[in-house]
Amino acid sequence: MFRCQIVGHPSSLWTVADQHRTLSGIPVDPVYGEGPLPGEYPYTRGIHAEMYRNRHWTMRMFAGFGTATDTNGRFKELLRSGGTGLSTAFDMPTLMGRDSDHPLALGEVGRAGVAVDTVEDMADLFADIDLAAVTTSMTINGPAPILLAMYVAVAEEGGVERGRLAGTLQNDILKEYQAQKEYLFPPRPSVRLVTDVIRFTAAEMPRWNPVSVSGYHIREAGSTAAQELAFTLANGFAYVEAAAAAGLDVDEFAPRLSFFFNSHSDFFEEIGKFRAARRIWARWMSERYGATDERSLKLRFHTQTAGVSLTAQQPEVNIARVALQALAGVLGGTQSLHTDSYDEALALPTESAARIALRTQQVIAHESGVTDVADPLGGSAYVEWMTDELERRAEEVFARLDDEGGGSILEGVYSGIESGWFMGEIAESAYRFAREVNAGDRIVVGVNAFTEGDEGRTGRLLRIGQDTEDLQRKRLAAVRTARDESAVHTTLDRVAADAGRTEVNLMPSLLDAARARATVGEVVDVLEGVFGTYTETVVV
């Protein structure tokens, strides 16, 4: 700890880290205003009494490209630079449950994330990183239980038992049908996989978040803030209903449900959205779903700045956009934050661009002073009105889905997926925004206004070539050659048998398949044989 002494004013001696004062030395309280205060039901003002005074948010930078070894290098660099958690981006074939040597994987291996085919790749991905000491987020949905099994297998082969693992599996399949489109099987068997993971982690991995209910992708696909809020929380309620229907008590699993929101460019609308999300969740969990554990009522969330707001034109301007969006996330009370890199409208971020994005969070945390006071905007007439208004708009959507589902949000969500309702609502909002930008009614700096000074877009970009794909195929071929084929077949047969029995949890057989070095694609093929595939109703 360092001490600041103002020469000639010995009475002004203070310790920076243990007293909260403004830059000019004025002491500030942990919170201002009347109750309910931060940390008090319905948690509109935050889930902790003192918020960031006790601990900053986790600075969790999303990373993944090339082979597992390539991404392992970036992970270590982020941890060296002061990142406090890991977050894994998988490539398209992995997200879609296809091996790197599948014909449909051509051209996409390692390009937009890291390629993981077997537990050997997972081991390389986390090589020399203490899995008992870091928290790891994995952005994967369709094949989520398979990748979780691989992560657990790697940890246990390295001597870290599963109960000590802390992290988050995105595992939010409902928003895939609505927005991100990385689904494998039809909705109902997919939700069964989600509840299998919820049950498994509730019993054996108490520090693991089995689902990250994600509005991020709904927003990126074009929704408004109100739609992001409403659809995401509706999906959260749907998982609560599904897990309850699978026989779990709400307070057994709800404390480990987490959320993931976008932080877009309309500053106060975003802050209102985060505050409304907490209040809605607390009320619904208490009043509709009968949760009594305080932790079940507290909505915890990760935030990522809006990738879709980044521009290829004058890309350095993105640093300013990201800073404002990140500040909205912090003023909205986020538990962890990813800041986008300024070059991401063109390619995966370079290491230097990712470092600037992390530094942006560090400036907010250590220089801006916003961490000294919990919910500093609470009581602002505009922010409170915005919070109420977004809550009102979300409640209209819940009422519609509840009605559509005959008293079940889960059934209402299934219905909205199958009819294409969610997709149509999102596409309509996306088109409206595009029209506003095209007509010049909405300014995007550097794109439809202030376009002078675009010096081109050709800074150094991170490029992943076809050589990576060839290398990954060789790695996969080597695993296939070295493994015991009969063990692979035995474990895959058990996966198929367990998939057909809804009363059995699939996680144990997925763990056995992972240990036997079965590939992601092989397991997905087996599950498709039982569950079938899904083709969406196209809504343009």
Binding site: M92, R98, L104, Q180, G440
Partner: protein, 152 residues
């Protein structure tokens, strides 16, 4: 407002038969926001849009071009695989006797890749932030001039 560009929206074509365009995502990448917006922009500009959507292959795209007698193909890619996949669709069209159907690529494509894509026979590339006017002009342009021959 200072700095604002003139606001323009592309109007429908006059007197010509409507351009028929097949729009598809090639590969596994599921980012379809941009392609859906482009579909509506082109439709509003008077074109006939055959929207195939997600997870198409060169084979399904060629089938659609043949069955729908399309004038042009639009492929959207956000998977950084355009240098591998775009030349494939161009050569597959040629192999199917559809070498007169030009290909427009849209999505996340860095400027530094433009020369290589054009050399492989891609007719036009629409990068991030392309306006509605640019989208429509680009499609009309490649239909008028026809496809480029690959340069090697």
């Amino acid at each position: 407002m200072a700095g604002r560009e003139a606001s323009r929206e592309p109007g429908p074509e006059q007197d010509a038969p409507p351009i028929r365009i097949v729009l598809a995502k090639l590969g596994l990448d599921g980012h379809d926001r941009g392609l859906k917006v482009v579909a509506r922009i082109l439709r509003d500009a008077g074109m006939e849009v055959i929207y195939l959507g997600l997870r198409q292959t060169t084979a399904t795209i060629i089938d659609a071009v043949e069955q729908e007698d399309a004038d042009v193909v639009g492929i959207s890619m956000h998977n950084a695989g355009h240098l591998t996949l775009a030349p494939l669709i161009v050569s597959a069209l040629a192999d199917a006797g559809l070498g007169d159907v030009p290909v427009v690529i849209g999505g996340v494509v860095p400027d530094e890749d433009l020369d290589e894509l054009v050399a492989s026979g891609v007719g036009a590339v629409l990068g991030p932030g392309a306006s509605a006017v640019e989208v429509v002009a680009s499609v009309r342009g490649v239909v008028e001039t026809g496809p480029r021959a690959p340069s090697d």
